[in-house]
């Protein structure tokens, strides 16, 4: 069972609490056994969907069938280490503005589970430590 988590802030919504990404163990197992397509397969789909959202046509949006099928048909990238899989997951599931744009502080950190607070009394006040 993985002990990694990703804590992140959305640079467009810094007033919101810090978020925590929990990886799926099933997905990590697939990543570490070499079952993932190149990351650009997902980025291509994300770009197309973001464009549809910006143009106000998300409701009727359908992915291009050829690009969509690449999720299963693209040549697999080979086995990743757990750390590489976590980096892949950051680039897949975090908003791209968190990791692809420059900010005056890191917008995400890969941490161990025990570094994430377990007391949720003030969950909506969580902030990423410097």
């Amino acid at each position: 069972m993985t002990t990694y988590r990703v804590i992140f802030d959305d640079p467009d919504h810094l007033d919101e609490p810090t978020k925590v990404l929990v990886p799926s163990q099933n997905w990590l197992d697939i990543a570490m056994s070499g079952g993932l397509p190149p990351i650009w397969v997902y980025w291509q789909l994300q770009d197309d969907e973001q464009k549809a959202i910006k143009e106000g046509r998300h409701k009727e949006f359908q992915h291009d069938p050829e690009k969509h099928a690449l999720q299963w048909t693209a040549l697999r990238i080979g086995p990743l280490t757990e750390e590489e899989a976590m980096e892949y997951l950051v680039m897949k599931d975090l908003p791209r503005r968190c990791w692809a744009e420059e900010h005056n502080r890191p917008m995400f950190k890969i941490v161990r589970t025990e570094q994430v607070p377990s007391d949720r009394t003030f969950r909506n006040a969580w902030e990423m430590a410097a």
Binding site: V22, P23, I30, Q46, H58
Partner: protein, 118 residues
């Protein structure tokens, strides 16, 4: 292990009605450090804040549509309540869950269930 690949599954004996299957499911916890206790079809869960899980699919849907559901398995560690909840398909890769209580505030459940049928 072999994989069965088909476009549709139909009832064999009475009329041939199509079956629709779960694209993703999870048993999750928002108590303490958020956790995916078990899941299928997901790459991760994002804990966005109190009572606000987001389920990230391992592969994108062809369109942002389907039937998503979040329900409470156990409200607190020793207490079962019937409580409010909701879910919304926000994109082809993400479903927002809304974990509630007996009012409109969001609460962290001890155990919750998520499903996406399409």
């Amino acid at each position: 292990m072999s994989t069965l690949k088909v476009n549709t599954i139909q009832e064999a004996t009475s009329g041939g009605a199509a079956y629709f299957t779960a694209r993703a499911w999870a048993e999750f916890s928002m108590s303490g450090t958020a956790a995916l206790n078990s899941d299928g079809g997901l790459s991760s869960l994002s804990d966005l804040g109190q009572g606000s899980p987001q389920f990230n699919l391992d592969n994108a849907l062809s369109s942002a549509s389907g039937c998503a559901d979040v329900s409470c398995g156990r409200y607190l560690s020793t207490i079962d309540y019937p409580v409010q909840s909701g879910a919304r398909i926000t994109s082809t890769t993400a479903i927002s869950g809304f974990c509630g209580s007996d009012n409109t505030s969001r609460q962290d459940w001890y155990v919750g269930y998520f499903g996406l049928i399409r």
